[in-house]
């Protein structure tokens, strides 16, 4: 499984229900992240690399799941990290770094997906190329899942990705995507239903 930041801490903590573990992990990650950010602000490349390694896998995966293009996802994740780097000096260490970074990633991914859709509307050739490329590239994920996600609009995919890959709460998703919380909840429900339906159809 792709590691959740702080997962090793959870593993060490032993007993406890899943919610408590996640909260504990978040707290520990927050504390260690603050140290890393402070060190990175002070010029420690080691700390910067640790921050990068901590968040890159999910950033890249999240971008891919929204844009369905591995090269674009890599670019989006890189740009997000460069944006984070530019803001590093001014970054308020009390704010969690991961959610802030992932919010940038997902919003950029949505923008990218929208702009590609726009291009397809003016250039049908792009759509054909896009469709041809799609089935081959699932980036190690279940091909069926990727295909099922592909049938959702980018904004719907983003909600799913934020919730089930990046562990945002519905409230955090609402804030990140600037939409009412009720919309987030309904999109999550509908998204799950549609994924179930599509995956069932594929079988």
């Amino acid at each position: 499984m792709i590691p959740l930041p702080g997962e090793s801490v959870v593993a060490m903590s032993g007993e406890g229900d899943a919610i408590a573990e996640r909260l504990g992990a978040r707290w520990m990650v927050g504390r260690s992240e603050r140290k890393l950010i402070r060190a990175a602000q002070g010029g420690s490349e080691t700390a910067m690399e640790e921050l990068f390694r901590l968040h890159w896998p999910r950033a890249q995966r999240a971008a891919f799941l929204v844009v369905h293009d591995r090269a674009a996802a890599e670019d989006i994740a890189q740009e997000a990290f460069l944006a984070a780097l530019r803001a590093l000096e001014r970054f308020d260490r009390r704010r969690p770094f991961g959610p802030w970074l992932h919010r940038i990633v997902v919003n950029r991914a949505i923008d990218h997906a929208r702009s590609r859709k726009l291009r397809r509307e003016v250039d049908p050739g792009e759509e054909l190329a896009d469709e041809r490329a799609a089935p081959a590239d699932s980036a190690g994920l279940s091909g069926e899942l990727v295909a099922a996600l592909r049938r959702l609009a980018p904004e719907h995919r983003a909600v799913i990705v934020l919730r089930y890959l990046l562990d945002f709460t519905p409230g955090e998703i609402a804030e990140a995507l600037e939409m009412p919380r009720g919309t987030v909840n309904s999109r999550l429900r509908r998204g799950l239903d549609r994924l179930s339906l599509v995956l069932e159809e594929e079988r």
């Binding site: 910067m48 000096e89 994920l141």
Partner: protein, 417 residues
């Protein structure tokens, strides 16, 4: 499909291709980080972040005809710094007082070069007429006397203080004198110029210093000479919200006058033209120019540009950008004519990074701090390529210090009439 199953599917093991992408990503980020770390950064400097990975200054392309006509002094510079820099700051080359924030706190530099420390504070900002300076010390916002002649109290005396819930930074005193905006944690907060009536203006705002709209000519006419307060002025503030859009707020009525479309991430600075007719938004690789009524006038790409400031009379916008050369990165100062491209000029260039430029109140001099050279450059807009430099700046604001001194941040040159 259960939520648990979906989590498992989305969190499938990382593939070899993803690992390779991670290594490529790290190479890019590492290079950008190394470039950023190369320039010394004062601890308290909250202003613009300098590093831009691999970016070239598009301005050089846009405005190269003017640049081509000036003497090619850049290639001669190998080590950062002007060779014939003065060792002492015996006088400022233009009227006014410079506010400097060092690692040990802010200082006021008078026109004759004398300096006065204000105390152990983190950040500092002039009041509009230079009578006071708003300073911060962690969660505390403090107004201290900066001009004993007009206030009648010693410089550095505390006039009022306010304890916020989170660290105070990005202080901006309104041109009318009656409001002070600042960030506290992620909130944008406001307090009256006499230190009372604090309130939250917005939450979860972007870490970009808010910018007050300058006074109009009619509003300037309402300034009370005895107090320096513009009694008939509106207090209008631009800030970048959590939605990554610029908001313009009449803080007295609470009315939001306009809100821009969402901007790309990385907005660095908001700068008003002196007449208050235009608001320049400078971001990471882009700029947008808005009219005071919110209409977008211009926008474009400026890769490498990281600082911009209108001259006090509005005839120039100084723009600083990074440029890649065979010998490494260097910074370039451009003067851009906001009315058209005809008079744009390349004013100065040197290796390393320049810090935020500051105009003298009369617009005759541009002060460009040069951390890598430990120098201040005083540039004359009429003389491209020429600089009056003063060296040893760090130690001047850390007298008696034993270890390496941190290069200080210039917080303003007071005060435009």
């Amino acid at each position: 499909m259960s939520e648990q199953r979906l989590r498992e599917l989305l969190g499938a093991d990382i593939t070899a291709a993803e690992r390779e992408a991670e290594e490529r990503g790290w190479a890019v980020v590492k290079a950008a980080y190394a470039e950023r770390a190369a320039a010394p950064r004062p601890r308290s400097q909250r202003a613009l972040v300098l590093a831009l990975a691999g970016a070239a200054l598009l301005l050089a392309l846009l405005f190269s005809p003017a640049g081509a006509q000036v003497r090619e002094w850049i290639g001669d510079v190998v080590q950062p710094g002007e060779e014939n820099a003065a060792r002492s700051l015996t006088a400022l080359p233009a009227p006014g007082r410079v506010l400097v924030t060092s690692e040990h706190g802010p200082w006021i530099v008078d026109e004759d070069g004398s300096k006065r420390a204000l105390g152990p504070y983190d950040e500092a900002a002039w009041s509009p007429n230079g009578r006071f300076v708003a300073v911060s010390r962690n969660r505390e916002l403090v107004a201290v006397v900066a001009d004993s002649a007009t206030v009648g109290e010693p410089v550095g005396d505390i006039r009022w203080s306010y304890g916020a819930r989170a660290a105070v930074r990005d202080i901006a005193w309104s041109p009318s004198g009656v409001r002070v905006a600042f960030h506290s944690g992620s909130d944008l907060r406001l307090i009256r110029g006499d230190g009372i009536d604090p309130r939250v203006l917005a939450r979860e705002v972007a870490p970009v210093r808010p910018a007050w709209r300058p006074l109009t000519a009619a509003e300037r006419a309402t300034v009370d000479p005895a107090t320096g307060i513009a009694t008939g002025a509106k207090n209008v503030l631009a800030y970048v919200g959590a939605d990554q859009a610029v908001h313009l707020l009449d803080v007295d009525s609470g009315e939001e006058l306009w809100r821009s479309a969402r901007l790309p991430d990385g907005v660095r600075a908001l700068t008003w033209s002196p007449d208050g007719h235009s608001l320049l938004v400078l971001g990471a690789g882009f700029y947008s120019l808005y009219r005071a009524d919110g209409q977008l006038e211009l926008k474009g790409a400026v890769p490498g540009a990281y600082a911009a400031a209108f001259s006090p009379m509005g005839e120039w916008v100084s723009v600083i950008g990074a440029e890649e050369t065979a010998n490494g990165a260097r910074s370039v100062v451009w003067l851009v004519d906001p009315d058209g491209a005809a008079r744009n000029r390349r004013l100065y260039a040197g290796p390393g990074r320049f810090a935020d430029p500051t105009w003298s109140p009369d617009g005759s001099t541009l002060l460009v701090p040069w951390p890598a050279a430990d120098q201040w450059l005083f540039l004359d807009p009429a003389e491209p390529g020429k600089a009056n430099a003063v060296t040893g700046i760090s130690r001047k604001f850390d007298p008696g210090g034993r270890g390496p001194a941190v290069f200080p941040h210039v917080s303003g040159w007071c005060c435009t009439p």
